[in-house]
Symmetry: C2
Amino acid sequence: MFAEIITIGDEILIGQIVDTNSAFIAKELNKIGISVYQITSVQDEREHILQALKDAQTRARIVIVTGGLGPTKDDITKHTFCEFFNDKLVKNKAVLEHVEALFKSFVSTPISEVNRNQAMVPSRATVLYNANGTAPGMWMESEGVSFISLPGVPFEMKGLMLSAVIPKIVKDFNRPHIIHKTLVTYGLGESAIAEKIEDWEENLPPFVKLAYLPNLGKVRLRLTAKGSNRKILKAAIEDEFSKLYPLIGDIIYGIEDEETLEELVAKLFTAKKMTLSTAESCTGGKIAQKITALSGASNYFKGSVVSYATETKINVLKVPKELINKHSVVSAEVAKSMAENVKKLLKTDFSIATTGNAGPTKGDSNVEIGTVYIAIATPNGVFAEKFMMGKHRNRIVQKTVNKAFELLQKEILKI
Amino acid sequence: MFAEIITIGDEILIGQIVDTNSAFIAKELNKIGISVYQITSVQDEREHILQALKDAQTRARIVIVTGGLGPTKDDITKHTFCEFFNDKLVKNKAVLEHVEALFKSFVSTPISEVNRNQAMVPSRATVLYNANGTAPGMWMESEGVSFISLPGVPFEMKGLMLSAVIPKIVKDFNRPHIIHKTLVTYGLGESAIAEKIEDWEENLPPFVKLAYLPNLGKVRLRLTAKGSNRKILKAAIEDEFSKLYPLIGDIIYGIEDEETLEELVAKLFTAKKMTLSTAESCTGGKIAQKITALSGASNYFKGSVVSYATETKINVLKVPKELINKHSVVSAEVAKSMAENVKKLLKTDFSIATTGNAGPTKGDSNVEIGTVYIAIATPNGVFAEKFMMGKHRNRIVQKTVNKAFELLQKEILKI
């Protein structure tokens, strides 16, 4: 049983926004055992929407449509739905009351006819309550296929998916199970890994698929099993993993279920009641931002000194001027001094420091672009490592952030 | 003349990655006057790829395919191309030399047969040189439609688009002009704006289209004109803007060409030779990260103190303990003290400070979740404003960052 996703909106097709909705929807459907066959982005235009609905109907059992709703867009999309479903628009009282209540509480301007019209829905649609906005979700059936229309604003779409769409699919459909397990490796390229595990890969059972996902120095190996018996799938995946391990044990970095490295680190620090600070130069606050993006960060994270300018390293972090003059601002010595001093200044158990040259010009140091030092201070000492992170600014920063979390995780695990 | 984009890869359809490639490609095509009709994401599977190629061929003159290439994926995709184009794979000498050279310089493991096979391309394909990786781009023609296959790694795809694909399209095709101009508004909802400008919108010339793009407190109004004479399009857009201004002058925040607010601020600080620092609590380093994501940030940005914990505000930023006890850590007084002190500590002309409660729990302050104070210190003084940013952690942070740049821009413009 397949689902499809259709996103409506010229803003996607001119590249003004990135379609993040589809990934969210696909991930949530996947969790409940539903595979997405195709994702299609189409224009805010009657014929194009009709064609996409027709095409999807021939391939999928569930079609989720996002976008094309909202006070200024309802016109085309809802009339197109009515044409497709051979239905007509009627005023829905519950939606109207909700729109009126939202305006009363949150909007300073008076409610208009355009807003009231958001309560118009196809007469046979099941209305899905949108707690976060005025455009309702709509669930419609046509020739055995379920069409679900959701607003395109990510925040409203997510609310509707989690509160209404997923629960209804779980209730209404018999679904297979899909299990993923992903192994993260460092240090070998995609093809070199493929060669090492060729025999194993060729002997995978037919319901287990392997995918290679290379990205910024890591290659993730994802195993996916699909079938009706969850226990059998889980056992098969574990069995295959146990055969895979000895083949590439030296490059395995870890298992990735749904957790990111930042989430793992956050859990470890919270569980061990340890505290953390950062002193960031070339990463410019990105490590702090990643840490604080997760709720509960205040349990262990005390803050950061983003010492972008050399004088900030000297004035705030008290890195000795002589040390900088002797070794250059991008050096293991300065990275270690930054880590030690921010740890002392913010009174934490651990700290991370970064200093490097992300380009495009050489800046206050004369080192080659891409040179980065990461220092980790722990309750037991401090060390720094040097890395060459390539030539491209954003990639250098991103790789440094990834590497910093990796080094930090290894250290916190020792406590 | 339309283009289409096909992205190949199960990782998109299970939601493991967000498809950012399509937005990049669409934007670049748009800049040279080519509209994207549809974006389709399909599985790594022969039949599905074939069907997508066939469908796109009926609608578009240019089809850009990304993904499905790389040492472990080449097998399916390239054989499917050969089937579709009725061609066969041959070894390309230039690609082989490039792959061998890349391995020699950057890879510690010896080159394998799998890597060498990346040099196999359809015999009639024009090979596009990929400076950033081993999988070449391929330009193929079939029944008057150009198919361009690019690797899915964003970094490699972007390099090929800019160095090879766009220049070749510009050379080979007559293209219309597309001009966008976007007006940013604050303070009124989509429907209230629509009502105010209804008459104007209805009288737009047929080659000019209007789109409403609401997002986190802003509504952007995008005008798009398409046609063969660039001068006429430009004049029409300016003419329509001049009629639009008086209708909604009170809510217009600015014009957005291709520049973000951060880019505008960076230009202003650099031009005026002013310096900036930040003291971030609830934004956790995100303002610093946005600033340093742009190259040239070191011209004006000295750094940040991410004072996530209250004690960091006291110990590093020297916010008086009594002030915090008297007004609470989330208050105008503390925000102002943070801004003044970081400005002094980092010796800058301007500073931004944020303190607020992003939830989900109330933390060190008892204020309601969503309460945020932003302070701006300038050469002429300091002020703080209070905002209610809603209930959702990531949105609170994002809105605060947007608002901080907005306040800062207003102040730097006064210098």
